[in-house]
Symmetry: none
DNA sequence: TAATTCGTGCAACAAATGTTTCATGGCCGA
DNA sequence: TCGGCCATGAAACATTTGTTGCACGAATTA
C-alpha cells in the first residue's frame, strides 16, 4: 500500500487504526472524535470518559510512531493551532504557480460558491413548496450533471411521500412518462446552460398537460423556464471552476424538500419516521456507537 | 468559592487588567495574546516563555475571581470549544409563526450552508485529486442521499476519463465490484451519519485490497474514514434543516473533479472537448439562440 | 495438548504540574 | 527614620500527570 501523506497526526491515526488491537481502536476512535478534548484535558480524564485504561492512550501513541502520549498531544495541538487557518487574506501570498496554486484555486472556488448561496431568493422556494404540497403527484427531471440534483430531490421527497414522487425516465423511456402528466400534478425540471433537448421536452409536455411546472435553472431565459409556474434561480457559473457549480441547485432542492416536509405537518413527520424505522429495522445503518 | 459566570473569561481579564499590579498586567496581556497556548500548554511553560514567575499565573487567576489557574484555564478551554457552531443563534429569534416563517427558515438554512463552505479544508482535496490522477481506475460509492453526490462525481470524472471511472453497483450487485478492487486503483466513499453498512463494507474492501481509499464524510470518526488515505470533511448538520446538508459534499466533489481535471493537463482537456463535441453532434443540447 | 505470543488491566513509579509559603525589597504614611 | 504594606521571586509542598513493570487470560502456533 502506498505510503499516505503525513499531513496531520489525526490522519496518521486514522490510517493506522484498522490494523490496531481492538481496545486501541476504541481509544483511537475516541481521540479522533474528541480531538479538542484530547489537546486540552488530561490523559486520565479522557480515559475516564472513554471508559478505558489510561495506559491505552500511551500505547496508542507509541503504536502510531510517537514517543508517548505527550508527543502525540503536542502534534495534535500544533496541527490545531488556529493562527494558520484564520487569515483568509493570507492566502493572497500564494503564488499562481507551484504546489499551492491548486489549493488557492479550491479555496477561491469554495468561497465564491459560498457567496452565491445567500443570493438565492427564498420566497419562490416557499411558493414552489406549496405547489408541491398540493400536487397529487410529483415528477422530477434532470439530465447530465443535473441528474444528481434530481435524484437527491426524488430521494428526500420520497422519504415522506413515497407513492407520489417519481423520477422521469426510471420506469421506462422518458416519452412514456411524458404522456402521463396530468393537471393537478407537479413537474420539476432542473437544468442550466447548455440546456438539453430532453429537459426542454419534459418542460413543454408538462406545460401542455396543464401540470404545475417548477423550473430550477440558472436563468429566467432558460428554455425550460418558459411557461413555468415557478422558477427557482441559482448561479451555476459563479465559481471560477471548470464545471458549472451545482451547490446552488442542491441547496434549492434541499430547501424545497425541507419546506415541503414542513408543510406536510404531522402526517409527513409520521411518514418519515415510519420510513426511518423500516430502514433501521433492515439494519441499513451502522448502529450508534458509544 | 463561586465562579463568575460572565460572558467570556478573556473579556473579564481585559476589564480587570488596568487595575492590576504591573507584573500581573504583563502576564495577563500575555495570556490574552496567546490564549490558545494558555489552554494547551502548562503554566510553567507559559511562564518561561513570558519571562515571568509561574506563581504570577496563579495570582492572576485569583485576582480575576477564579479559584486558581486551573479554573481560569478550564473556563478558557470551554469558551474556545469549537463544537458550538452558534454565531447564528442570535438571529434564531425570528418569528416562528406567520406566513414568513418558512421564508426565514430557508434564508437561515442557505446562510448557514454558505458559512460551512469556506470551512472546508482545501489541501486534502488537492492531495486526493493527485491520488485520483495517479489511479489506474476510480470507483465511486454513495448510498441514500449520498448517491446523488456519487453520481455527480462519476459524471464529471467520466467527462475526461470515461473508461477509468465507475460507480460501484451499476453493473451488477455491489459485491461483484468489491472483489474487483486492486492496488493502484482509487475508491471514493461518500457518507455521513447515520452511516450505511454498505458504504462501510466498500471502504473496508478497498482498504483490504490495497486500493487508495478516499472518504468524503462529515466526521473523522466516520467508520468509512478508518484506514482512508484521504479524508475530506464537510459539515452535514450545519444547517437548521430536516435533512443533512449536502452542499458541502457537492462542493467537495466538484472541487475534486476540477483539480483532477487540472492535473490531467492537455490530455484531459482534449478528452473533454472530444466528449463535448460528440454530445453536440448528437444534438443533445439546445443550440444557442439569439 | 503444550508452548508461546499478544492484548489488556492494575498498580507503582518518577516526573511534572499548580499551589502555597516564605524571604526580600521597594513604597508610602507616620 | 521607622513601621507596615504590598508586589515579587525562589523554593518547598501536595497532587496529578504520563509512564512502565507485572500478572493474568485469550488467541495462536507447534
Amino acid at each position: 500500500m502506498a505510503e499516505p501523506a503525513k499531513s496531520s497526526p489525526l490522519s496518521e491515526l486514522r490510517i493506522a487504526l484498522p490494523s490496531l488491537p481492538m481496545r486501541l481502536q476504541e481509544v483511537g476512535r475516541f481521540v479522533a472524535a474528541n480531538d479538542y478534548d484530547a489537546t486540552t484535558r488530561s490523559m486520565r480524564d479522557l480515559a475516564a470518559e472513554a471508559g478505558a485504561d489510561p495506559a491505552a492512550f500511551t500505547r496508542l501513541a507509541k503504536a502510531i510512531g510517537y514517543s508517548g502520549w505527550d508527543a502525540l498531544r503536542a502534534a495534535l495541538t500544533e496541527s490545531r493551532r488556529p493562527s494558520q487557518i484564520s487569515p483568509f487574506s493570507g492566502r493572497a501570498k500564494s503564488r499562481r504557480h507551484g504546489p499551492n496554486a491548486d489549493v488557492a484555486l479550491v479555496s477561491d472556488k469554495l468561497e465564491a460558491e459560498a457567496m452565491g448561496l445567500p443570493r438565492i431568493a427564498a420566497p419562490p422556494i416557499v411558493e414552489a413548496a406549496r405547489a408541491l404540497h398540493d400536487a397529487k403527484r410529483i415528477w422530477i427531471t434532470g439530465y447530465r450533471s443535473c441528474r444528481s440534483v434530481a435524484e437527491l430531490l426524488n430521494y428526500e421527497l420520497r422519504l415522506f411521500r413515497p407513492e407520489q414522487v417519481q423520477l422521469v425516465g426510471t420506469s421506462g423511456p422518458d416519452d412514456l412518462d411524458l404522456g402521463a402528466f396530468r393537471p393537478g400534478e407537479a413537474v420539476i425540471v432542473i437544468g442550466f446552460l447548455p440546456y438539453t433537448h430532453a429537459s426542454v421536452r419534459v418542460a413543454q409536455a408538462a406545460h401542455r398537460a396543464g401540470a404545475t411546472l417548477i423550473a430550477i435553472a440558472d436563468s429566467l431565459s432558460a428554455p425550460m423556464a418558459e411557461g413555468a409556474d415557478h422558477v427557482l434561480l441559482f448561479e451555476a457559473a459563479s465559481s471560477p471552476g471548470f464545471f458549472p457549480s451545482l451547490t446552488g441547485a442542491i441547496a434549492i432542492a434541499q430547501s424545497l424538500a425541507a419546506v415541503t416536509f414542513s408543510l406536510g405537518g404531522p402526517a409527513a413527520k409520521k411518514r418519515l419516521e415510519h420510513t426511518e424505522a423500516r430502514l433501521t429495522a433492515a439494519s441499513t445503518y451502522v448502529s450508534e456507537k458509544g
